[in-house]
Symmetry: C2
Subunit: 570 residues, 2 copies
Amino acid sequence: MTCIHDDPEVFATTALAGFASVYARNVRPVTGGVLRSTATPEGKVAVVVGGGSGHYPAFAGFVGPGLADAAVAGDVFASPSAHSVAHVTRLAHRGGGILLGFGKYAGDVMNFGLAAERLQSEGIDVRILPVTDDVASGPADKPELRRGVAGDLVVFKIVGAAAEAGLNLDEVERVGIKANARTVTFGVAFTGCTLPGAKQPLFTVPTQRMGIGLGIHGEPGISEDNVLPAKELAALLVNKLLSERPANCSGRVAVVLNGLGCTKYEELFVLWVGIEAVLKQAGLTLVQPEVGEFVTSLDMAGCSLTITWLDEELEKFWCAPADTPVMRRGAIIPTEPAAPISEASQEITSFPAATAASQANGKCIAGLIAEIADVMRTAENDLGRIDALAGDGDHGMGMTRGSAAAAEAARKAVAAGAGAASVLAVAGDAWADRAGGTSGALWGLALRTWSTALSDQREVTPQDVAKGAQASLDAVKRLGRAKIGDKTLVDSFEPFVVTLSEQIAKGVALNAAWNEAARVSTAAAEQTAQLTPKLGRARSHTTRSLGHPDAGAVSLAMCARTVGAILDRP
Amino acid sequence: MTCIHDDPEVFATTALAGFASVYARNVRPVTGGVLRSTATPEGKVAVVVGGGSGHYPAFAGFVGPGLADAAVAGDVFASPSAHSVAHVTRLAHRGGGILLGFGKYAGDVMNFGLAAERLQSEGIDVRILPVTDDVASGPADKPELRRGVAGDLVVFKIVGAAAEAGLNLDEVERVGIKANARTVTFGVAFTGCTLPGAKQPLFTVPTQRMGIGLGIHGEPGISEDNVLPAKELAALLVNKLLSERPANCSGRVAVVLNGLGCTKYEELFVLWVGIEAVLKQAGLTLVQPEVGEFVTSLDMAGCSLTITWLDEELEKFWCAPADTPVMRRGAIIPTEPAAPISEASQEITSFPAATAASQANGKCIAGLIAEIADVMRTAENDLGRIDALAGDGDHGMGMTRGSAAAAEAARKAVAAGAGAASVLAVAGDAWADRAGGTSGALWGLALRTWSTALSDQREVTPQDVAKGAQASLDAVKRLGRAKIGDKTLVDSFEPFVVTLSEQIAKGVALNAAWNEAARVSTAAAEQTAQLTPKLGRARSHTTRSLGHPDAGAVSLAMCARTVGAILDRP
């Protein structure tokens, strides 16, 4: 959805005005586009690029030293008029002739073509360079039928650098034609996009499906499939492009992984790990790859992969410095590589010697934590839902990760012969380390503190358990700065500890005492539905969580019940 | 929707690995985060920032000369563990002490706090700097209750520059506390976000509504309202922040307009135009503003505005060079400002002298175009829908814009006394210029070419009309390189011209001839539903448009019928 706009009629021109204002260091606005705001030498070939709007940073974001001299911007998804192209180009001309770069679409071919004719008739030497990198839009033996997509970035970067290096128009054109011929792109889309002011998306992709080869204006692709896991998607994209590997290829490639708008950077980085692996497996050397948003489609979700088969000349221009709003190459601050570092392995593999009795207790503790991990995995979504009402919804995920890591660490410690105190301590550390977040810090501290009341030498007594529980509660209250009534896990933890201590002091057996404490804790957790989170402590200070219990209090009671049920087993 | 992932458990760590690989020039990966890959001097204060993942470029994208020395990354939306923070921080330490920067959330306060305690106990001097810029999360008089959002960028940029300048830890901390105290942020969200692997979004915002003050993990905001036009949204955001303008304020401000993920750059630039206007109206001077994505929330749609009230010291550090993956300040290539240019006004205001008869014809032509513009406006959505089946869906928009501009230009020409040929010519130019795209180029050329058969001196004859139509068709076929059967507007234009010419040659009256031609043209437009678009010419080479007529052929026939109906009027 395009949510921010005034009159959709002026969306593209207003966006361009805002862009030019923010990037005044690089560009200045003229009717229909932007020019560099910095001086260029007389006689330099001017590289003018352009096309429809809605593809930012294409094309205005590519204007600056080392890349384009000017960009022409049409309305959203519409080619600029020949009049606009001619106007902006005239202003950019420095006497060295013009290279007009654009993606190959019917409207752009017409308007840039008409503009070129008009400028030629005025005595300006103009060449057009339609980019045709999209392999989904035409067969390999008819590249002239193909559309231009994210390959624009590589082709324009290379011709921009060639022009900056002082090559004449014939040479810049030759380099551009070569760069385009050696550039291929293949993409997928997960959702459609919505034109500013439109109530409905321009097109849709069914949920959990992806359009393969779908164009940047929603032009139909070559097929549709289920959304693939990242590694398989990486292989799909790379293999399609490798099938067009030219014969005279050095094995050095420029690579661009481009997001279409709503596919986020972190997703692109995840995909990149797979893409890099497949490309390297194919024996290719990646030269200054780029991962980001370069040719977008409003709010479309999807991505494309571009490869340019470099030769020495193309590599030189691909790597040359550039200083534009979005595409930047080269250092601002001189640097030297840092000295190597070595990270010591962080896994603890040896433990203090333990008695057989304590080892047996340790094994029992590891078993309890393993069952807690099972319960948390089952409850993950429910806990996440409760948490999302007041916070960030990560509670279920954090508890699942933390308890699973704790169970694994405890299992390994038992296998290494650790006693009860050591097993509980490493479990706590693993929980904190893997879960992170609030619950990770609190649970990690709780278990580690609890372990200080145990020993690797003697058998665990009910009094040890009660003492550990009290120490644990105190530590949690200190770290979380929470007290009863703040709508946190303290609300179910404190009643649990109080009841457990009372029962054990009375001489009640551990299993019965624990289960009574778990019962009281569960009731208290449910009561948190009546509470308002304390301003600032919780992530919210609204009343949205009113009527819902606190996820941390609920999960703690759940763990207490799980342990109680096991202690009751014969 | 987060569409690209493998096992959601390893989403954050895989994303970080991919990021570190792409940006090896800036960073190197370590367990739990990234360090600069470039050397820093012994004794420099190390700035270590971090928090949950899912907010890229926060925080890893801020590592590099002039900004952070390292970043610690937790799981998605979860604070990193104290263990991770301590580990990364130890590796970043250069003997000058550590400033730990993070947004103020319960989990981060705990884990960074625990890590700081641990490092202090190891003899490393550590200060923590929790950022508290989000005005929606606490009252102005209790900033310590506030969360940290996009203000992170400004505060970290400033402390990073202070550390780079060689200030000692006490001084870097002082500058950081001041920067945080003078930084405020206010935001809105239009949609929720989806955790990797989750089937449902973490939360939702009703369509056409926005959550005001909603947090970057979906924490509830302070209210909900209908989505506002861009200008009103700009005023809402700015005015809230201006209400906290400190007394000792120079009027110079750092400003960051931040997108949350799915709100695209062009929307941010549109909003920026409004924001800049309101800020300037308030007498403020904007210092190196930033518009882009700096602290995101996976695929959430929304934005936030950050203002930092600068003093001389803060401004110096805000503007200092920085060279990180995302935040870059300073020039790569030395430049000088370009010479000023002046754009000549492009509106034609005087026309060749015309006879009264030709002026009357011109007025009639202007009237016809005005009615065409009305019809196109009404048909805009239908034409867009037909076009979206095979192309980019911009046909309705292009026809509406073009015909409206043509009608306006024709009206002005009539008012200036232009004759028939001039009226039609300027209408064609205006159509092409405003509509852009394929249809703009073709219609502009069609009308301008048609005008060459008319005159500003003598009255228009039916033969002139027929001759103009033929010239117009020839020009359109040449520019579009299309012939009958290619599924373009030629499919309805050519039968129109052929019939019109035949009828007029037979002596049929213009209105009857035109209407017969329009009838034939309409039938031919409908017949285009049977055609497959020619490979490469149309933007698609699939069969998705099979069974649907061509939008260009349909709109041409529609215009022909409109004119026919008017000619039939008494």
